[in-house]
């Protein structure tokens, strides 16, 4: 018994150190990228541009934070892009069409995300539909509903300037609020994942779902809770997106889920579950937008930008595979 505990401790230390290395590597790549682009173009390392990079990270970043939880459970969520759109459309309906107070619209949008998460979680936990399929279905349902509800036309917040302030207002001059919302959500995500029972079960389900179930944990319940949490993050991303664009665009959103997953994976969260960090995801999301922005500033043709981002994802996952081999 005692030796087992010792073994577990040892494993824990190993896991921790492997994660530390991962984060260090990701962080180092980010620094290298920033250095490279700063040297390559005098226009890269400027206050406005750095703020621009952070701002363009915010939507994908918040989506990726939610996706981190799901991927740690060894699940996947393909619905985040279109559910995000549905959330902004619902906020638009509540605020612009029904004239409800902005706070109600914002909460309504976030609640839409939570509901979609709950339904996906229900399908996965209770109906035993694999996450890939359940969230694929949810992706289509959300996409269709966003179009139906909005009448396939954008909803504008032009008469509600306070709504635009949510993401684009500047509590600190020069820095749009969207950036703070992103970091605030990251802190909340970090606390949930590391300091609460939700986080502990997220890791437990991802490492060994059966063992977790056998030790008396209601896995179904916790899975649903985890998908609801991811849905809430998606809802927040939807609000930030709508606020930044001053409109809910029902046709946008598809494809964002893959960028979110890419950010999570670059940040070192393993698709096979049980491993991952919020800080890693934040860095992963930053790497993606630094790359895109830097390549754009260097006027690299878009076709090649996509190739480079693809190669980076491949490299990041390969590094992860190598490290896992070593630690085994």
């Amino acid at each position: 018994m005692e030796s087992q505990v010792v073994l577990n401790e040892k494993k824990k230390v190993q896991l921790k150190s492997s994660q530390a290395i991962q984060q260090f590597l990701a962080f180092a790549s980010l620094i290298v990228l920033v250095l490279f682009f700063s040297l390559a173009s005098p226009n890269f390392f400027k206050f406005d541009n750095i703020v621009g990079i952070l701002l363009s990270t915010s939507v994908i970043g918040i989506l990726a934070l939610g996706a981190t939880f799901i991927i740690i459970t060894s699940g996947i969520d393909l619905s985040v892009g279109t559910v995000m759109t549905l959330c902004s459309v619902m906020a638009g309906i509540f605020i612009s069409s029904m004239g409800l107070p902005i706070i109600v619209g914002v909460l309504g949008g976030i609640l839409t995300g939570a509901t979609a998460g709950m339904l996906a979680g229900l399908a996965i936990a209770k109906m035993r539909i694999p996450p890939f399929i359940a969230t694929l279905a949810m992706m289509m349902i959300a996409k269709g509903l966003a179009l139906v509800i909005s009448g396939a036309a954008p909803i504008y917040f032009t008469s509600y300037p306070a709504f635009t302030k949510i993401a684009m207002g500047q509590m600190i001059p020069g820095i749009p609020n969207a950036i703070f919302i992103f970091f605030l959500m990251a802190i909340i995500g970090g606390i949930l994942l590391n300091k609460t029972i939700i986080g502990r079960y997220t890791f437990a389900i991802g490492s060994n779902e059966e063992a977790t179930r056998l030790s008396g944990v209601n896995v179904n319940k916790w899975k649903m809770i985890i998908y609801i949490i991811a849905g809430i993050f998606t809802g927040v991303a939807g609000i930030v997106m709508a606020s930044r664009l001053n409109s809910a665009q029902p046709a946008l959103g598809q494809g964002y889920e893959l960028e979110a997953i890419a950010a999570v994976v670059i940040g070192g969260t393993s698709l096979s579950g049980g491993k991952g960090t919020i800080l890693g995801t934040v860095i992963g999301a930053l790497i993606m937008s630094v790359l895109t922005n830097g390549l754009r500033i260097l006027s690299v043709p878009q076709e090649w930008q996509t190739v480079v981002v693809g190669a980076v994802i491949l490299f990041a996952v390969y590094a992860d595979v190598l490290r896992n081999k070593k630690s085994k």
Partner: protein
């Protein structure tokens, strides 16, 4: 578990029956009596390039107007995004099976659709191309905007507004579609031919996605601090440029857009955008159905129906002629 999924399936079935019952009165389903609906009106099938975008909704509006005027039944459908060539071919296949009296078609890929269009021709179904042409002699007529000429007009206006010299850039919607290529090239070629002192420093693509276009335009502005103007080649691209200009507070940059929509109209009224080219989407839809009706009645139809384009800015945005072709 089986019981739950049984109930679920049953509910879905019921749901879809209700849905189809609801919609059957406006678009009656497949029929086989030689292009006549049950109500005896000729049936004209229209396959567009999309339906989510405001532009296509306006085309549909024009088609509906003509259908009412000439007393025909139409269906209007299109794939979700303008890259789904395969989906569009499937839709074409499906409507041909419904034996329409005539066919209106906006090809995403004019080569890919040739075999099916040939089949339509063999069955003596008149084909009217709209928005972008189909190569060969299958279509009796093509109702479209001359994209190159329209973009060249944008170039002339840009040159005029920046005093015929300086750096400018283009944010385009994509690099493979016909409108994407023609609008970009029409603009670039005119600048090269007529304005030797103007330099196009960058062309980036935002996929027509508002958020991505915003980030692309911001990166261009960071990389080229002396930039004097940006041309956005469709609604999403143009709104992205406007967002970028207002986020970086560089309101002296001349922005010229394409198409309309509420946000572009507002941006022009508020001065953020100098002006935009508008096509005549309602006219495109109307002329397509009119040409189909003429062909059915044995009248001669013009091979190339130029549906026209206009430049609009603060000074003429409220003119009746312009108002009629703008959509919100």
């Amino acid at each position: 578990m089986k019981k739950i999924s049984g109930i679920f399936l049953g509910a879905m079935l019921l749901f879809s029956i209700i849905l189809s019952a609801c919609s059957s009165d406006e678009t009656s389903s497949g029929n086989s009596d030689g292009g006549k609906k049950q109500d005896g009106k000729p049936y004209i099938a229209i396959i567009s390039k999309g339906f989510q975008h405001q532009f296509w909704q306006a085309v549909k509006q024009g088609a509906d107007k003509a259908a009412k005027e000439f007393d025909v039944t139409i269906t209007f459908e299109g794939p979700e995004s303008e890259s789904q060539v395969d989906k569009q071919i499937e839709m074409l296949r499906a409507v041909l099976d419904k034996k329409p009296a005539a066919l209106g078609f906006a090809a995403l890929d004019s080569q890919a659709s040739v075999p099916l269009l040939q089949e339509a021709k063999d069955k003596k179904i008149p084909v009217i191309a709209f928005d972008s042409g189909v190569e060969g002699d299958i279509p009796l007529a093509t109702a479209a905007t001359d994209s190159r000429a329209a973009a060249a007009l944008a170039a002339d206006k840009m040159a005029e507004l920046i005093g015929q010299k300086g750096e400018i850039a283009v944010v385009a919607h994509d690099q493979v579609s016909k409108t994407g290529i023609e609008r970009r090239d029409g603009f670039v070629d005119r600048i090269k031919e007529k304005y030797p002192d103007i330099k196009i420093v960058d062309i980036q693509y935002g996929g027509g996605d508002h958020l991505k276009s915003t980030d692309a335009a911001k990166a261009i502005m960071q990389a080229h601090p002396n930039l004097k103007g940006i041309f956005g080649t469709n609604e999403g691209s143009a709104i992205g440029v406007v967002n970028a200009v207002s986020e970086l507070n560089k309101k002296d940059i001349v922005v010229i857009g394409f198409d309309s929509g509420k946000q572009q109209i507002d941006a022009i009224k508020s001065g953020l955008m100098a002006g935009a080219i508008t096509q005549n989407p309602i006219g495109i839809g109307y002329e397509t159905v009119k040409a189909a009706v003429d062909a059915l009645n044995g009248k001669k139809v013009e091979k190339n129906i130029d549906t026209g384009f206009f430049y609009y800015d603060k000074s003429n945005i409220d003119d009746e002629e312009i108002k009629a072709v703008l959509y919100e």
